[in-house]
Symmetry: D3
Subunit: 159 residues, 6 copies
Amino acid sequence: MTDRLVLYPGSFDPVTLGHLDILARACRLFDRVCVLVAASGKPGMWPVARRVELIERSLGDLRCEVDSFEGLLVDEVRRRGAVAVVRGLRSAGDYEHEWSLHGVNRRMLDGFETLWLPARPEFAAVSSTLVRDVARHRGPLADLVPPPVVAAFEAEWSA
Amino acid sequence: MTDRLVLYPGSFDPVTLGHLDILARACRLFDRVCVLVAASGKPGMWPVARRVELIERSLGDLRCEVDSFEGLLVDEVRRRGAVAVVRGLRSAGDYEHEWSLHGVNRRMLDGFETLWLPARPEFAAVSSTLVRDVARHRGPLADLVPPPVVAAFEAEWSA
Amino acid sequence: MTDRLVLYPGSFDPVTLGHLDILARACRLFDRVCVLVAASGKPGMWPVARRVELIERSLGDLRCEVDSFEGLLVDEVRRRGAVAVVRGLRSAGDYEHEWSLHGVNRRMLDGFETLWLPARPEFAAVSSTLVRDVARHRGPLADLVPPPVVAAFEAEWSA
Amino acid sequence: MTDRLVLYPGSFDPVTLGHLDILARACRLFDRVCVLVAASGKPGMWPVARRVELIERSLGDLRCEVDSFEGLLVDEVRRRGAVAVVRGLRSAGDYEHEWSLHGVNRRMLDGFETLWLPARPEFAAVSSTLVRDVARHRGPLADLVPPPVVAAFEAEWSA
Amino acid sequence: MTDRLVLYPGSFDPVTLGHLDILARACRLFDRVCVLVAASGKPGMWPVARRVELIERSLGDLRCEVDSFEGLLVDEVRRRGAVAVVRGLRSAGDYEHEWSLHGVNRRMLDGFETLWLPARPEFAAVSSTLVRDVARHRGPLADLVPPPVVAAFEAEWSA
Amino acid sequence: MTDRLVLYPGSFDPVTLGHLDILARACRLFDRVCVLVAASGKPGMWPVARRVELIERSLGDLRCEVDSFEGLLVDEVRRRGAVAVVRGLRSAGDYEHEWSLHGVNRRMLDGFETLWLPARPEFAAVSSTLVRDVARHRGPLADLVPPPVVAAFEAEWSA
């Protein structure tokens, strides 16, 4: 019986209450969980280092690592010796997207493993895109993101 | 028994025959219907005021209000005292998208209500995106949009 | 401005908390709502009259009619002069099924109208089939069905 | 760090190569895996004890428990102290179905956890229903089920 | 350039206007088309020979063969030297189902080929199941099935 | 019996092994197949002429035409006298998208015909978008695209 590491990759721009719920559940299932902010892709609302910091400040009692990565996810899995990648599924649309991602990754790394956790119903509509949208209109954020992210938005608004 | 108002929000860039079909059906079901052109989001092909005008010119016998709004839809629902928001569903993809939107809105406004009407099969493939695409290639528009919108495109082409 | 009647048809074998939520929301949107238990189809767990009775006992403050029908739904819509049929959507699977039903009904009755309401997330997994399954194993029912239905099951178990 | 048990429930009527692939992958991810043949539901092609036996004979090097259960899955999770239930997803249809099952179970047991593993593409069309269908027509089974199940069918055919 | 044969298999219990539309389109695309009524599976409303006869009487100007088969479709493809099997897709649900069927058949016959044609929107809700349902309630059939099938139902009703 | 031409339109930016599999299968089903690179739409990674050239170099034994087009696909179908357009389906998401495209095209050209071929499972996750993503991170391309495309990427990297 060895320690098993799973990765939880994503953009986290910003981290939501839905992300944190998946993370908390992954932490109950595996010895080690590492949240990985993807640095590639189009530039987000916040820089990668800021996203990492906001996740770290939102962890509360959760014990996990937070890091960022550039390049291919399969390289990260190999390099870190992870047994699987964890992702939340919120809808049939998510399923379709994740199924493609998994297929692609498995083509590049034999034995690549994905674990999907069903989003809690109350978070099934919560995405980072939505959060940015609500924030742009100064809508209520407390039900969508953890307090450090609410504070980060408010700091921006008053800047 | 009081007058009930429902909102029909969208980009309407431009309004299509599919939109007008949903609108006509909503008008048979509710005392008051207000079409709402969303002014936020990325800039469209036509300015919001022009989209409002094209809807108004396409109403024919339909009795409804046409307006635009900025910001969050939930604020509009609250401010206008609407009992529900009406949306057409054309496909399983639409369902997925609308289901997320509804979830988000209900998180921000308790009692927020969405009513979905099934698109007529002959309009199920008609979207504003498609219309703009066909128009870019000067394709046939008469089956896709109302005459005032056809005229608006033709005016642009001859400009 | 006239009174508008909508029908809420289904098997209701038995009525669930999810059904009652859709019903309550329909009652806020329309002047008159009539729940219609479908008497055709395969025999259910409970006779149609019993299902009607259990709905009636579960209405609480809701003001609506409850009835049953045999034959085609379109005949019922015509006969009662309903403006639309109301149905809850819980999933993409529901959407597919309901879209087919609507298509069929519209082929038989021009102007047939269906209104879909999104199920509340907490009821999205609740169906009569599930309830019967849980009941068969004497599982907890209080989160799934209204008290009169819980009582009906318990009466059966102690019989 | 404690031993974590996950359950892999199903009808397994009969076990397929797709089931065994999910099982093998679950065994790499968790300390203990228990396959659980559901004894409730409609009677299958083979008795539950026979299905358990065919799974056991097909395990090869896999180290896991095989058992059967009656009643509600949530009771089994509680009784055995499992951290999660594992299920394979082969298609968007599977996703829909599993999402409902998970929702139901979580309503009955707070903290109930489901983990979905994507089926390998080559097994995505393989189901017990298909296997029974192919077997009824004496079609080729070697690509669909493990050798002990092929042998079991052949024994029946020659009986 | 050789004659290419495609098969159009199904239950056809009874043949609908939707089936005939797919058939007519397949006949424009391929040199030879053979409609194949599946004799296995659960007994239908009408015997297989009757279903074949009703298809033949509904062909009008269409030039194609009509036959029935028992056993596996892959054996029929092999035996008749068909290049592909043709199927209509009416919905995402159909897609899911057909995708599984294709996967299964390709596992049993390397090079097995399926061609999907999109159902016309006006037939997208029309299925044999629906037809039988409408017929049971003596509903209007003329928009759903060809005249020989309408006549067959009426003959039964007056028997 | 006349020669029948089908078109296989797409962006092909770049052509993948999945595209070539669909193409090979279409060539077995029809007398003449013409691959058509769409020149309209947003600018791709490679110019249209380069995409055409890479397809031509990847054909091996396949006998088909390769060309590009601007404007509406329906005009191309009409101009070339094609009996149908061929497209691969990889997922339910593809189905949704293709169903809309087909609906739009049929509205503009009566008798427009689309034929969908199921993607092989091993190519179901392979898309040009994915390929560009993998290439950006210098990931392994040999399982995704034909040798001439691998060479084209490598030439760019060393430039």
